[in-house]
Amino acid sequence: MRYLPLTPDDRAQMLDVIGAATIDDLFADVPAAARKSEPFDLPHHAGELEVERELANLAAMNRAAGAGPFFCGAGAYRHHVPATVDHIIQRSEFLTSYTPYQPEIAQGTLQVLFEFQTQVAALTGLDVANASMYDGSTACAEAVMMARRVTRRKKAILSGGLHPHYAATTQTIAHAEGMDIVRQTVAFDAEAAVIAAIDSETACVVVQTPNVFGVATDVTAIAEAAHEAGALLIVVTTEAVSYGLLKSPGEMGADIAVAEGQSIGNALNFGGPYIGLFTCREKLVRQMPGRLCGETVDAEGRRGFVLTLSTREQHIRRDKATSNICTNSGLCALAFTIHLTLLGEVGLRQLAAINHAKARRLAKALGAVPGVEVLTKRFFNEIAIRLPGDATDMVEALLEDGVVAGVPFSRLDPDAGLDDVLLCAATEMTLDEDIDAFAQALSRRIGQ
């Protein structure tokens, strides 16, 4: 048992100091009926090699995204992460530290969070960012509930372009908290329809850009309509690299912006851990959920950082807290901020341009396949295409050709009646040959 330092001698000596005869004496408060005496039907301890073998076998049963042409997006994107990022996040002082409750010996984590908050605020064009949330979808739910606290209204309008899983998460969590969630009909360009639904009861409207079909939208008019009615505009983004090319939520009038930050610094990880980005206008900060890091000075007047405005949080407010959230996504935020620091403005813009160029190439190639219609006109790195048949069947067929073609929309929302729609993303990881292979295989399959 390589993780346990105590020897049998240590244990005996320690029991002696404690004044207990056996270890069982220390479990004396456990009712007899609850003491598990017979062994569990589970294997006994195993060495590194054995464990490594089992997990390597499981991993080998999966087809990694990098194994061939791969076009899945829909809220999780495959990007290149510099080697430096993974090296730094595995440093003991970052990996094995806790929430920075003792700021004097956690300045590393705290300065990183301060830098992270500043970067995220800049990306979204808003004033303040928190120290991160679990992921984009839970950040979306938290934003909706924050809008309720700000406006003291209960109705949230979710655009039909919002990722269906984000809508479901928000429906589950914000509805539980007592909000009325109005989810609009799913449509490729659903954003315009939001304006007509805004009324004096509306706390917020939630609009995603680029939306789940990849459609990039200028939401300025929606912001104006929301503000006119005293409501907030929440802008959701699931592909953070798009900030490098597209107008920011803040520039378009958003009051709160939330995003999935996985694209920067973090691997696909089969859905988690990811990192929710959360930013808002300065005047709303007291209603913000989650941890916040702020600048201050120490007893000698030197600059330092602390967690601040913590009276919003559960450990002090208890049943009056802004949220029950306790942790953030610290290590994922670290990976995000390191990657973004390596990119810088220059690199992020370039990376975004490459992604856009790849997607344009993909749209062109797929659009040229007879029977395929590219539905998304203005996009960043993801498009929706209409196939002549069921998209799920086509994905299965193309797998035999070695191509992972994308995410059938019906997997995200089986009730939308969009069974022939496929979401396809391209990033800097996508080779031109991958695109050609996809288009050729698709053409062949449709021809059959």
């Binding site: 007291r286 405005l309 913590s310 009276t311 002090i316 407010r317 009056k320």
Partner: protein, 121 residues
């Protein structure tokens, strides 16, 4: 000036009550960092929440000592919450409320009664 057992103070000018927290409360709370003042126009009921005062370590509800309508909130506290510590029973006031029942004011403790009450704590 009148006082409550929840450590609010009230001073009355006509039917307009100015409300804050006592020096004792401010001392107990420690460094005040934020005050959430009520919205102007809001109707408040005696004994219900009027404002929230936050120190670094705690958030405390401030109860309305009297019922009425909020006429004004102390906007200066937004930039200078420390006023609550520095001048709790003067510049650190929270809100001005037009009270509906002036006789309720007289029912609150006077300074001597409040001081005596503090002795019992």
């Amino acid at each position: 000036m009148r006082f409550t057992k929840d450590h609010e103070w009230v001073s009355l000018d006509g039917d307009v009550a100015t409300i804050g927290i006592t020096a004792y409360a401010a001392e107990q709370l420690g460094d005040v960092v934020f005050v959430e003042t009520p919205e102007v126009g809001k109707t408040v009921t005696a004994g219900e929440g009027l404002a929230v005062v936050e120190s670094v370590k705690a958030a405390s509800d401030v109860y309305a000592p009297l019922s009425g309508e909020v006429l004004e909130a102390n906007a200066a506290l937004a930039d200078a919450p420390e006023t609550v510590n520095q001048a709790p029973e003067a510049g650190g006031w929270f809100a001005k409320v037009r009270i509906s029942d002036p006789s309720a004011f007289e029912a609150l403790m006077d300074r001597a009664a409040y001081d005596a009450f503090l002795e019992t704590l």
